[in-house]
Symmetry: C3
Subunit: 361 residues, 3 copies
């Protein structure tokens, strides 16, 4: 049985196949209207997220299945101290597949270890949100014809934006993608992505402070929100924020076929006047997310996925501990201390992927 | 495509047709058990309301469709600052029709402007709650045979009760309806309804302080709750409240075929002992609401409604502003300042219908 | 029409038949996949409980029916002061069967008196939680072949654990069940169960403080959680708590075919390491609960149950009042003061079953 915790759980071929399936679903939804008849999706949302939850629910309903779950931790047994592991184990009795959102990093992965049905990560704190990345990739594919040979700009909060990190990692699997990083100094893309992903894969990239300056060359512009609370110095925020707002005037500097994306919800970082421009693809992106979630559910419930054996390279160690205070390993009862080795032989927590620390004797 | 924001969105003929359809649904629910197969209703409740939400959900399920949504603003993206407009635009990707309740006046209308599917107003603050009025009209029709030629009493809080205002407006479309207004001085029907509706349509009406006195002449008695917090003077409230409670003793003053309505929930304004009396129609009214909602969903999803062009007489003006602090226009991002002219050429906010104020230069 | 408020609502034969039906459902779920087509279950949860709610919802969905409801009192009309009685009366317009959880004792019974569809008690405060007991009985039956001739140990909080009280009462209907009560002095089984159930039915039982000592003789071990807040003296709690935790070491003292149950959620009273032992049956128990709920829904919606007349021995009395401050009769509007006589002619509240007090003149 396979779960989907992060993008690397699929090979590039599998991602491409998933997009082919999603395209067929988008073209001919009626072919799939009974595909999940009698199947149930559990949406376990330990943190609210309407859009993601409704997208999963719409996906399952359109496949002819049904939905149960919760959208709020207070209405869940978690408020009685139940572990994530027990929750997914038991919900496996009630549903055929689980979509879980959780504020702690690694929680869906922990859930997948005890569940007897596939678990989909619908967002785990700052760690990852891979079905958003599926929506992003599929939208780029549909709008530009291919994910290869594109210049993709990321604008706004590149430091904390997990959707940015995840999409850059995914783009590294494709050919000849150039990246332009547009952000204030305070919100630059972190080194572990610049070096660990962009440079490690030999991708061309450059950093800039100016949205206007970079717009003319972009095939894709990925906007994100800059939050006031990210700045120590509020006057700095006030001075900067408008330069990262996409207005119709700025958009006119872009190519005629640039594709503007945004993971949503948008607050004011894209002017409402941009919505009517054919280059504004963020609402299509939301719809594309539904198609990819339908494809993902179908894939994970396929005989092939359900019968596959996972090839997991975790190892147990009592000599290390995870350095991340937001990791599920800090709160989950009697959790096994699992770690993984990355390509550079660094030891990382198997749950949240943050670097592990060796205990001193 | 048509939405349903308030009763005047339908002509009298359309209302009558809707009641004919609802009657057929009530008589032969099995004929409609697959009518919405494969269709999804989104219930976007930015404010809790079990009865209304469950009624919509039951309606859609009985039509063979399915339901998704939220019942609590805290579990929604609104808590992240998303606009109503963006929410309905995106939910249009996930559902075929939307029922929205919102604390701000005009919010469902704003939602309908960006949505690509029909939007039903399931209550917007103190503004209107038109599907309750559909339930009221249909119950009167079923119980009395017709909405014409009736004497209808309204009792309790006639000042703030939006269901009262809405039903009176709807009754003005019918023939020879006499209205009796039964309330304490503090909670009299506002002038804009007395003059703007009752007198404007030449309807016979009278005001009284006494429920007992008026009971013998009523064909329909519409009860509402008097809330303590409406009174500046609590002793006044204590002195008055019992006279507006319907007991079995008082009901015995009424005709044998009077029909007692209440929008529910009831707290103590109708004694539980009245429930068993055949004149108590408020539980039937709840059931009738379901039938009208089924008819409404069918109508809005019909080919005819989906393909119709709305004939909207809004105009944009930078010279006016809406005077209502509870209007959605006060909070919605980059909202266009739309206004309408009423029959007397007064300019009103297009969203909440409150009179607009002209800006001074 | 029949509701299911507590185990004694069914005869022993009916319980056995229910288990036969549940077994058939577990073996051949596809036979029942359309049994409730077009039927709706309303889950009215005035108090959160994910597991119980999801179990009911999964049950109804697997029977081909659909589900509506709420999982949180704040999103319900109860927050507007509506009575339980009105709520179930109205929800009867929207659903074919109701599952209700409520913090007040007797609330589902009050609901069943006004509902026009069957009501299932999904837990009412400390009073009872009979579908958990159905899950417990069915798991014992499946694991041990029969509920007769067993030695059943109850460990932990026997004083407040309503699932313990309910299962002991249910076991008293079976033949030759021996009971071992394992708890600290502070949390002994209350006298009304020891005398009123165990001794009244001539059941063999003994009390002990030691889990280890009693393990070798048990066919079934029913674990419950000991909560810190039950102890006046925290040092006492700290000293005792570990002795009532089931570890692999302790489990090795048990028979090879002992069956370990737990109503869940578990916090730390059973070590996670026990989960992999074949004697750990608590996850199966959760699944069995779903099968029994499916059987229960089918039974209550059967023609026979819907047409049966309830044989209720309640009587009205103005001379008595219920002594229980957590009883629904303390808050429900205009509730009739119903009482029942137990086998010893004691007068009890008909709603919460706590002994009534005679008013002084």
């Amino acid at each position: 049985m396979r779960s989907f915790i992060d993008i690397p759980d699929f090979s590039k071929d599998e991602l491409l196949d998933l997009m082919v399936l999603a395209e067929d679903i988008a073209q001919s939804p009626e072919k799939y209207a009974e595909s999940c008849k009698g199947k149930k999706l559990a949406t376990l949302f330990f943190e609210p997220s309407t859009r993601t939850r409704l997208s999963f629910e719409a996906a399952m309903l359109e496949l002819g299945g049904s939905v149960l779950g919760f959208s709020d931790p207070d209405s869940s047994s978690a408020s009685k101290g139940e572990s994530v592991s027990d929750t997914t184990r038991i919900v496996s009795c009630y549903a055929d597949i689980i979509a879980m959102r959780h504020p702690l990093e690694g929680a869906p992965f922990v859930g997948s270890l005890s569940a007897t049905v596939p678990v989909i990560n619908a967002g785990d704190g700052g760690h990852c949100h891979p079905t958003q990345t599926l929506a992003d990739l599929f939208t780029i594919k549909r709008e530009k014809g291919s994910v290869d040979n594109l210049t993709v700009g990321f604008c706004g909060d590149l430091r904390y934006g997990r959707t940015v990190h995840s999409l850059i990692s995914a783009l590294s699997m494709f050919e000849n993608v150039k990246v332009v990083l547009i952000s204030p100094e305070e919100l630059r893309l972190p080194e572990f992505i610049r070096k660990g992903v962009l440079e490690a894969h030999g991708m061309t990239y450059r950093e800039t402070r100016s949205l206007e300056e970079s717009l003319p060359e972009l095939d894709v512009l990925y906007m994100t929100r800059i939050q006031r609370e990210r700045f120590d110095d509020v006057t700095m925020y006030e001075r900067l924020k408008d330069s990262y707002v996409l207005t119709l005037e700025k958009l006119n500097l872009a190519k005629r076929d640039t594709c503007v994306l945004h993971p949503l919800p948008r607050v004011n970082e894209i002017s409402v006047k941009v919505d009517a421009d054919p280059r504004a693809c963020y609402f299509k992106q939301a719809e594309n997310g539904k198609y990819m979630r339908k494809a993902l559910i179908l894939k994970l419930l396929s005989k092939e996925s359900l019968s596959s054996t996972e090839n997991n390279e975790m190892f147990e160690s009592e000599k290390h501990y995870c350095a991340n205070p937001k990791c599920i390993s800090k709160t989950e009862q009697e959790i096994t201390n699992y770690f993984i080795k990355d390509k550079k032989d660094n030891i990382r927590c198997a749950y949240c992927e943050v670097g592990a620390i060796e205990k001193e004797d």
